[in-house]
Symmetry: C2
Subunit: 460 residues, 2 copies
């Protein structure tokens, strides 16, 4: 085996191979091949480890994480509106329609300008990488060219990415200055996007994929939804859209089709095993069963849901129903580019879903679901790593043979963020909790994608 090893990493690693648990790989050696794929994880108690380390050290391919540093899988952020990055944190007190009309649409329209698009997208990709997000699923603007540009930027900066051009063709729902020229043009542009982004992906070492991306039903004509569904079926491309995000959307779709959002999307051919459905707090049990059967993915966006959904998505029920799930920042419905902050919010929001919110009512009249609805920190960590990987069908998110080596190195002892806890509670679950709850961007020192170092703050 060892002849294929390109690099080897020695240190201690946290990952979450199963939902709800995590593993601490203390003093492990991870072998990575020339393609950036993990060949073997050699445990501390493996009698071979010492010999291998000596050999790798001698030939100069051994990287030691070092004292006080831990390797975590890179995060998989499965819902990011790339052109909304300049709007992150803004106008979150507005209702969705005003937020879209006064902010989002005028902003996204600017991405007709490729220079502007490039400046924003480079910064966004760099910021996500700096926070350990090694894979991202992006919705671009409605422009073909800047969406292809986004894919190129991800390829060149070393982020694994799925990139769509947002489709919004309905003249009655979208402003004239910012919409697709026609349903036919939108489908044609998406076809071009698929071809171009596939080419970018083939030329990349980490993988970049196209995504069929209707914004959401209220932005789209029947014709374009049908056209995109057919295109997805024909090409096997990923699909991403918003589903069951809020009461308004829920009601509008029901009124228009006499059926709810998930069924309408399904009937247009947009719900399948490559489909990412963002938000979904309104998903019923029956709709969830349909998703589970179809293999569709729910992108949980706990931060954005607090602002625009008027509810908390029931993650525990979705998981119990067997729905595939990952976590998304939803920039800029959620303000933060950090998956760390979204992991925290996934936990916090689930506590309020459990209990309800108004203490003037008796506990059982507070509107909480009670029971086992909490998202534990380990579960949220899984959603952000292995869950996202499973959702996308990509071999990442866990340190095991056959998966790409995507890693963030967390230094737990930085001047303004010492996560060592003075040695008081030092079990692996405590160390992991400190990292997930307390890490700042500064704690993330190095980021690897597919075995390659794409960000090295130590060297700056």
């Amino acid at each position: 085996m060892t002849q294929h090893v390109e690099r080897a990493f020695f240190g201690s690693f946290f990952h979450a191979p199963e939902y709800g648990g995590f593993e601490f790989l203390k003093d492990a050696l991870i072998e990575v091949d020339a393609c950036g794929v993990i060949g073997r994880v050699v445990a501390k108690d493996d009698p071979e480890q010492a010999r291998l380390m000596a050999a790798y050290r001698e030939c100069g391919v051994l990287t030691e994480l070092g004292e006080g540093r831990f390797g975590l899988p890179g995060f998989v952020d499965i819902h990011v509106h790339a052109p909304q990055w300049p709007q992150a944190a803004l106008a979150l007190d507005e209702p969705l329609y005003l937020w879209l009309e006064q902010r989002t649409f005028p902003l996204e329209a600017k991405f007709a300008d490729l220079d502007f698009a490039r400046a924003v997208y480079v910064d966004l990709v760099e910021q996500l990488l700096a926070r350990g997000s090694t894979t991202a699923v992006y919705l671009g603007s409605a422009h073909l060219a800047s969406s292809i540009e986004l894919a190129s930027i991800c390829a060149e900066r070393g982020q694994r990415a799925l990139v769509g051009k947002t489709v919004m063709d309905d003249p009655s729902a979208n402003p004239e200055y910012y919409r697709d020229a026609s349903a036919a043009q939108a489908v044609e542009d998406t076809r071009t996007l698929i071809r171009e982004v596939e080419a970018i992906g083939r030329a990349s070492w980490q993988g970049v994929w196209p995504v069929v991306t209707p914004r959401f039903i209220p932005s789209c004509t029947d014709e374009v939804l049908r056209g995109l569904g057919d295109l997805a079926a024909e090409t096997g491309a990923y699909v991403q859209t918003h589903c069951n995000e809020g009461q308004w959307e829920h009601d509008v779709v029901l009124e228009r089709f006499g059926k709810t959002d998930p069924y309408a999307l399904r009937d247009f051919g947009l719900v399948g095993p490559r489909s990412i459905m963002a938000h979904c707090p309104y998903l019923t049990v029956e709709e969830g069963e349909m998703f589970a059967e179809a293999g569709a993915v729910v992108a949980h966006c706990p931060m954005a849901n607090a602002y625009f959904s008027s509810a908390v998505a029931p993650v525990a029920r979705f998981r119990a129903q067997g729905i595939r799930m990952g976590l998304g920042t939803d920039i800029s419905g959620g303000y933060s580019p950090s998956m760390y902050e979204n992991i925290r919010q996934a936990v916090v929001a689930s506590r309020l879903l459990e209990t309800g919110v108004d203490a003037q009512r008796a506990p059982d009249e507070r509107g909480g679901l009670g029971g086992d609805v909490r998202v534990s920190l380990a579960q949220a960590f899984w959603l952000a790593t292995a869950g996202g990987a499973e959702a996308l069908g990509l071999p990442v998110g866990v340190f095991e043979p056959g998966r790409a080596f995507d890693m963030q190195v967390v230094d737990v002892k930085r001047r303004d963020a010492d996560l060592t806890g003075f040695g008081v509670f030092d079990a692996p679950e405590d160390r992991l909790a400190r990292i997930l709850y307390l890490a700042t961007p500064d704690n993330v020192r190095k980021v690897y994608v597919q075995g390659r170092l794409v960000r090295d703050k130590d060297a700056e």
Copy 2:
């Protein structure tokens, strides 16, 4: 006037003098006297400004914030369990009693060791200052010596602080290894604390004050509660305790006294204009009126409440009732030492209080309060600054004459946190929103307390 000016600061500043609004002082000159108190704020359009700036520059007392930097008032964190700092982020899935028994009490007991206490407290004070918290209200451990040590550390590191020794004397409620020896001893120790900390405060340039600190009713005997109430009346010292934090506490107090927590505290003499009541989500309208009349303060701890209160505190109602309020991190019931993160959570939690959480119910059956219960970002900013100042009766939190000059300087253009938004939405409210929602500790570059520079990351 100018003969008293010790230093002057030129730049652009955000602050929130009134609840719900904020002001942007663009290109303003702030004069600070030798005691660190603001003498004058000279606006950009004041014809005197140019002459004053020239004079101050010439005599070397002018500090210019610089391009892309903004001054914000230092934060006032009104609820921090100092000895729980090593436990931040840990075991938040546990119920309160287990969390206390297995984690908090064994940890706090370690603060009998002054060397350990000093190491933890120095780090905590530094971390809070690094995040812009220039004033903090601390609960120490049950130990007199380490609590006095905490006050000394605050004095020497330049943080304005209110420090208490936590009282917990009930043998039936607290472990033998960690409790006050007796009610009489606890009151005596608190008396000593008041004397010692007042002396430390008098010798400090920024102010340090003692706090009478019963942990909460369930930890304390009637005797000690009465003794501490009498001591507070006698000395006029601040009081801090937990009030109406959770259902368990609420029920235990009602059972023990036949009245609820706020009334029980009042009847022990612990509710007055110098009293800080932490959490309070269970506070009824009637209890709130009593607090408003007494001038008591509610410390809103939105992060901790999600974990331990099973509810969201109704900030809007409290404000409408005229209750004085500030914001607290509640380390470690809340995981984060950052007031920025607590500002964000105050907003997010209020959205769920408005709407409720379970989307499977109709909107009006979701358990939300509806109506005007949102905490806007500007309101949360006020809570973290001017509100906290008002709550403590200290002249800080706003840039106006007569207040101490406590300032954090935020650089909006750091490599891993560019808050400039590419110039797209650039109104003052947008700039402030980006700072409050997106700043990382690294964006906070300098921190001033009472006119003195206590942290300068630029120089490191």
